[in-house]
Subunit: 167 residues, 2 copies
Amino acid sequence: MEFKEAKNKFVQTWGALGSQWGINKTMAQIHALLMVSNEAVSMEDIMDELQISRGNASMNLRALMDWGIVYKEYKAGERREFFTAEKDLDELASKIARERSKREIKPALKILKEVSTIEAKDSAEEKHFVDQTTKLYDFVLKADNMLDKMTEFNENWLGRLVLKIMK
Amino acid sequence: MEFKEAKNKFVQTWGALGSQWGINKTMAQIHALLMVSNEAVSMEDIMDELQISRGNASMNLRALMDWGIVYKEYKAGERREFFTAEKDLDELASKIARERSKREIKPALKILKEVSTIEAKDSAEEKHFVDQTTKLYDFVLKADNMLDKMTEFNENWLGRLVLKIMK
DNA sequence: TTAAACTTTCAAAAATAAATGAAACTTTAT
DNA sequence: ATAAAGTTTCATTTATTTTTGAAAGTTTAA
């Protein structure tokens, strides 16, 4: 396979994977493109490579910067802006985890807490509801904490040891 | 909050969460409904509670069964079928992880392997591409393995210990 | 201060994903 | 064997999400 073909395949695949996980295709594609670029890329070039409109490029770059996984860069003597992606994968995973936790999991936990603490009457149905949502709350909380700690966990010696054992 | 209201809130929230993670809303809602039901539910009742059509209910129940997280149940003396959800959360997480790994991560890994093993010419651009995609391959593989082992990890003593330390 | 170069916004259009519902199919009791 | 009870399928419709593009907004150099 040739470089250009490989690069395109990678960008397409990353885009498809993104949309399967609730991240829009273009956003994932831009990120992919920046990940494998050895230097900062202008919006013009992004538009050109991905065949997307200026507005689309602008909005998704903004979103990526909001997630903290793409940075703006200024080049001396150049008026226009260039973009680079976070390339350290642990850092990337950590930021994505933090962001999704904040945006989705934390609000869901709040609701779970609410619904799991209703006054359960004596019906088996209501008892089961409270029991199950309580378990779910605990589970999601635990999973959220794990996600949160994943990176530092990945980096510490005990984590490495456990990872080895798990393989 | 009253039981009916709480149940509805839970089903809606779970549905919204699902669609943010690439699972369709109805599928997640049906699952939510079954999770908090203390007894098996008929298709008729699901349609009724979620206000969805027969076809929609049927297709999403089928999908949930394909994922292995919803089961058909037959009641003596009843012709129609009833459905229950996997209620053990570790088991649920494990099945979802397995399924998403099989459907999405494994194919993505295959592509990553392909594109990361192209013959990199001497340009810095191509070298960076190969380097970055290789790192990504390793990272995704590691993450996939972790997901795979999460359940048994959660259950074993060392896992529990590490979890405690991580908190 | 102004005009060129560039970026952002957002209403409308296009693309995509999900839901409907009626017909086809299957199962089971008689 | 058959008809009643129930389930599945899938072409069409509907809803949702994403993209476009032109206008508005910014910034900077002269």
